[in-house]
């Protein structure tokens, strides 16, 4: 069971390394969107501190969305998706591997760069720590839920826009608790409650989403 998951992760990471432009462009998108906000709303530190959690999280959602359409599309186009579906394992495990690989190349870099961007918003050290933790905890859920949308819109015209329409509403709980954790830390209430709810959502969606995704992929492959 672990073998197939790690085989898929290994393959996808190797592919991602051969095509670094994709990772880098999603990351730059995140950095640029976040950096535009202070220019748009003015440099008052109090205001920036208040807006930082929301801005960083919304930008993280959008950056994740950017890489989602290609999650299955490339494999679908060259026929490897069929072969993955024919592997002698439940397709859900294969998808789990792909989701983890997607998180490693799209979610993890966001978490690593987020504290640097948090400094632009004058966040305290505590808040930066919670921000990093929240993005680390929350982005796997984004990859998992996003995979369902990516599989449902596989091979459709205008799939990218449709994908955001389907997936963004489902991201709301992650956004609320992710931003809420940082916000609570900024206002001194403590973000532990938010973080544990975020962990629960991630746990549930990473466990459940691959199987829904596998069902959607089977429909797309018919």
């Amino acid at each position: 069971m672990l073998k197939i998951v790690s085989a898929v992760i290994g393959r996808d990471l190797k592919l991602a390394m051969r095509r670094q432009a994709d990772i880098v462009s999603a990351l730059f998108f995140f950095i640029i969107v976040v950096s535009l906000f202070p220019l748009g709303i003015g440099p008052e530190p109090d205001l920036l501190r208040k807006l930082a959690p929301g801005v960083l999280w919304v930008a993280a959602l959008l950056a994740t969305m950017l890489s989602l359409p290609r999650l299955f599309a490339d494999d679908h186009r060259d026929g490897t998706l069929e072969q993955l579906a024919l592997a002698p394992h439940p397709l859900g495990l294969v998808v789990t591997g792909k989701v983890i690989a997607h998180w490693l190349v799209s979610g993890l870099p966001l978490a690593l760069i987020a504290p640097v961007l948090g400094i632009q918003f004058d966040l305290s050290a505590d808040a930066l720590l919670v921000l990093t933790g929240a993005i680390l905890l929350g982005t796997p859920a984004l990859s998992g839920i996003g995979a369902i949308g990516a599989a449902l819109t596989l091979g459709l015209r205008g799939g990218g826009v449709l994908l955001s329409l389907l997936v963004l509403p489902l991201y709301i709980p992650v956004l609320i608790f992710g931003a809420g954790a940082v916000d609570a830390t900024v206002t001194g209430l403590g973000g532990e409650g938010h973080l544990s709810l975020l962990a629960a959502i991630t746990f549930a969606s990473v466990g459940f989403a691959p199987w829904a995704t596998a069902a959607a992929l089977k429909i797309a492959l018919e």
Partner: protein, 205 residues
């Protein structure tokens, strides 16, 4: 061993075929024939379990394939008209990755041997995007050498191959049949397969 019982196929709103039966034993090859759009590829996709039939059942070793699931897929090697190779990876990496995903144990030496057999010696370390169409097809075909599966389902395997490669593939298929394997394939060019019992099935009238 492979049995199709009263299969019916509907694509979109068209009924492509109905009441289709066949039975294939070890050492037998089934040629699927029919004009374009008759449902050859659809039938192959049913046989590999990706397309659920509208009616009827497919059995492998006497058991329905959707019940067998993983066990059936572990006996199956499918080559579609897409090559299922990654352009960014080298032929060697492609072969090794495919084997890992298919749960096959494949050493690097064996993989290089297989690539030599399909005529790709010296190109093992060149990313597949630099290969020609025919060479990419050969990378895909190398899986027939590396994966030891009893059931081969091949969709137009001879397309984009030169004469030498066609002969090589015909030899490989007859070797597979001699070992007691089964094969189902569609093809437009009738190729002489030296060994094994060849049967034909025409679908869509």
């Amino acid at each position: 061993m492979l049995e199709a019982d009263n299969l019916e196929c509907v694509r979109g709103e068209r009924r492509l075929f109905a009441g289709l039966n066949f039975k294939l034993e070890g050492g037998e090859l089934l040629y699927l024939q029919g004009r374009n759009g008759a449902g050859k590829t659809s039938l192959l996709r049913m046989l590999i379990g990706l397309l659920p039939p509208e009616a009827g059942e497919i059995r492998w070793r006497g058991m329905a394939i959707d019940k067998l699931a993983d066990e059936f897929r572990a006996d199956l090697c499918y080559l579609g008209h897409l090559n299922a190779i990654k352009e960014e990876l080298t032929p060697l990496e492609n072969l090794l990755a495919a084997a890992r995903l298919a749960d096959e144990i494949l050493s690097e030496d064996d993989a290089i041997d297989a690539l030599e057999q399909v005529g790709l010696a010296g190109r093992e370390d060149l990313a597949c995007k630099y290969l020609s169409q025919g060479q990419k097809r050969r990378v895909a075909l190398a899986r027939l050498v590396t994966e030891k599966r009893p059931l081969w389902i091949l969709d137009e395997p001879f397309v984009a191959l030169d004469v030498a490669a066609v002969d090589w593939l015909a030899g490989i298929i007859s070797g597979h049949l001699q070992r007691g394997g089964l094969a189902v394939m569609t093809t437009h060019q009738l190729v002489n397969i030296p060994a094994g019992q060849v049967r034909e099935l025409r679908i869509g009238g």
